[in-house]
């Protein structure tokens, strides 16, 4: 099960050079084989009629509710959302946690992928397979298991207490910023490892050997040979990690506290605890803009990666 984006085959093939003498581009065959008639258009229209109520209509209603007040169009809900003292600075918190978690996870993920690819240790294939399964884990579950390990009564806390003969178990960071960042790093690093590994797999190892034989050290090989080729995959993986961390909810629900409010948590609290749907809708629209912009960027970068010969 690869997570690679849908290949834009038609676009890629249209760019093929006329030097392929005699080879008819596959897109031409496809187009002559497919009946270009109303049946195709009708099929797409029916599909649209299924997707619109599922996805587009709710989003439009969300937008409408966020802009509606007692007397028609009003931005009151947006003011209410951001003026609420509990949610003030919520965007700052969101971005701070995002930067820390996704930043660490990206660096760690690339490092682990490099390790798995260039210096495999016995059991590396097993670990790679495991990392692929790991992404089907629910995120809140990972956070929950950390309570047994890093919580104040958890295993590592007790180990440290016994090791250093302390009065109290020392670790008390889990239900706060540190804990959230740890949980997000653990959960999202595999999301960076997989696309990075995939892009390393496109490397022509002979290039590396050639560079080494010409006297380049490992750092130079990494910087000048590997990174330029593997960059699209790494960028895509990193962007994905940032996007998913931005949208993360389960981990914050388990490990967060009243001072640690990110946008998804604020939206949820506004909707279900305060039962204030318009305010929640306002926050949701802001979140929507942020997420979709990042997602559009991610799609553009992955498409570039696909185009450059994967």
């Amino acid at each position: 099960m690869s997570c690679s984006p849908v290949p834009e085959r038609a676009a890629a093939l249209r760019g093929s050079n006329p030097g392929n003498a005699g080879a008819v581009p596959r897109s031409t065959i496809a187009q002559t084989a497919r009946p270009r008639n109303w049946a195709v258009a009708a099929n797409l229209s029916v599909l649209l009629m299924v997707l619109v109520p599922l996805i587009l209509y709710p989003l439009i209603r969300l937008l409408m509710l966020s802009c509606s007040g007692p007397n028609g169009f009003s931005l009151h809900a947006y003011q209410a959302f951001f003026a609420n003292p509990e949610t003030r600075g919520v965007i700052g918190t969101t971005l701070a946690i995002l930067g820390a978690s996704a930043g660490i996870a990206s660096v760690l993920g690339v490092a682990i992928a490099a390790l798995l690819f260039f210096k495999p240790f016995p059991g590396a294939p097993l670990l790679t397979r495991f990392l692929e399964l790991f992404v089907a884990f629910p995120s809140f579950l990972v956070a929950f298991t950390l309570i047994f390990l890093y919580g104040s009564q958890g295993s590592f806390s007790i180990i440290l207490q016994r090791l250093f003969h302390l009065e109290q178990p020392p670790l008390d960071f889990l239900f706060g910023t540190g804990g959230v960042i740890l949980a997000e790093v653990i959960f999202y690093t595999p999301f960076v490892v997989r696309p990075t590994l995939a892009s390393f797999a496109t490397l022509d190892l002979r290039l590396l050997e050639a560079a080494r034989s010409l006297g380049a050290g490992w750092m130079m090989v990494a910087r000048r040979v590997v990174l330029p080729i593997a960059w699209p995959g790494i960028a895509a993986g990193t962007l994905l990690c940032f996007l998913l961390t931005l949208n993360e909810f389960g981990i914050l629900l388990v490990l967060g506290n009243a001072h640690l409010v990110t946008l998804p948590v604020a939206i949820y609290a506004s909707a279900t605890v305060d039962l204030d749907l318009p305010t929640a809708a306002a926050g949701a629209v802001v979140m929507l803009v942020m997420s979709l912009s990042l997602y559009a960027l991610y799609r553009r970068v992955s498409r570039q990666g696909t185009r450059h010969g994967r």
Partner: protein
């Protein structure tokens, strides 16, 4: 080797912890659980089993619905142009991938909790929002399986006189079976673990396992939550193995 240890430490350990904690008699204030016991499984109450059945029902519905819709999308949007109706539909289908689950849940709640379109009293609203969230994955799974080599087989069949319907049934679908199985397994696993949107839309009485587990964790009942989580994970793994087993190991791009 140190790096390998780090990997195991970070990633494998949480999984081991779920398994271990669910059979622990007591695990607080000690490095390892004190004593083993199955009592947490015995103590699973009516609410827990209800949540499990709800999760399973929703999971199957979403996995099958998502795969069907994803297959339909993949076949319809195959040779689409860069701009046009096909590209727009592709963007729409993939959009939930970039959204936080809570936002989509809220949107669905707003759209479908008042007459005339009131779905908020049944599990249908949960299935609907999870379907939207799972669809991008199923669609991508099926679309990735429609490889150019398949196109050659289809043209060969068409040139031998088979009707498009026959080409679809006899040539395309059998080739897609591994991808369809993977899509069902993935949809099922994602649905079982879904929290954000489900928590926002679920009607009373239709809690799923993640909701119950998080509720128990918030109240401090860690070990019963572990038992329930282990059941959930076991079911996911079972489905993954049963449905997606024998997926041919093609060279991945």
């Amino acid at each position: 080797m140190a790096a390998a240890a780090l990997c195991v430490f970070l990633f494998v350990l949480p999984v081991v912890v779920v398994a271990l904690s669910s059979v622990a008699q007591h695990w607080s204030g000690t490095v390892l659980p004190t004593g083993l016991s199955l009592r947490w499984f015995e103590r699973l109450g009516g609410d827990d089993w209800d949540a499990l059945t709800t999760s399973l029902e929703v999971g199957f519905a979403v996995a099958l619905g998502g795969t069907a819709l994803g297959l339909w999308l993949a076949l319809s949007l195959e040779g689409r142009d860069r701009r046009g109706l096909g590209a727009a539909i592709d963007t729409l289908a993939m959009m939930p991938n970039g959204l936080p689950s809570v936002v989509l849940g809220l949107a669905v709640l707003i759209a479908y909790h008042k007459k005339p379109l009131d779905l908020s009293g049944s599990a249908a609203i949960v299935m609907m929002v999870q379907l939207a969230l799972v669809l991008p994955f199923c669609y991508r799974c099926c679309a990735a399986a429609l490889r150019p080599e398949l196109q050659i087989l289809r043209e060969a069949a068409a040139s031998l006189g088979a009707s498009p319907a026959r080409v679809l049934l006899r040539v395309v679908l059998p080739q897609l079976v591994p991808a369809l199985r993977a899509s069902v397994a993935l949809g099922f696993a994602l649905s079982l673990g879904e929290l954000g949107a489900t928590l926002t839309v679920y009607p009373p009485g239709f809690a799923t396992v993640p909701i119950v587990v998080v509720g128990e964790v918030e109240r401090g009942y860690y070990l019963p939550a572990s038992a329930l989580s282990l059941l959930l994970l076991g079911l996911s793994l079972l489905a993954l193995c049963l449905i997606a087993a024998r997926v041919p190991r093609r060279a991945k791009p």
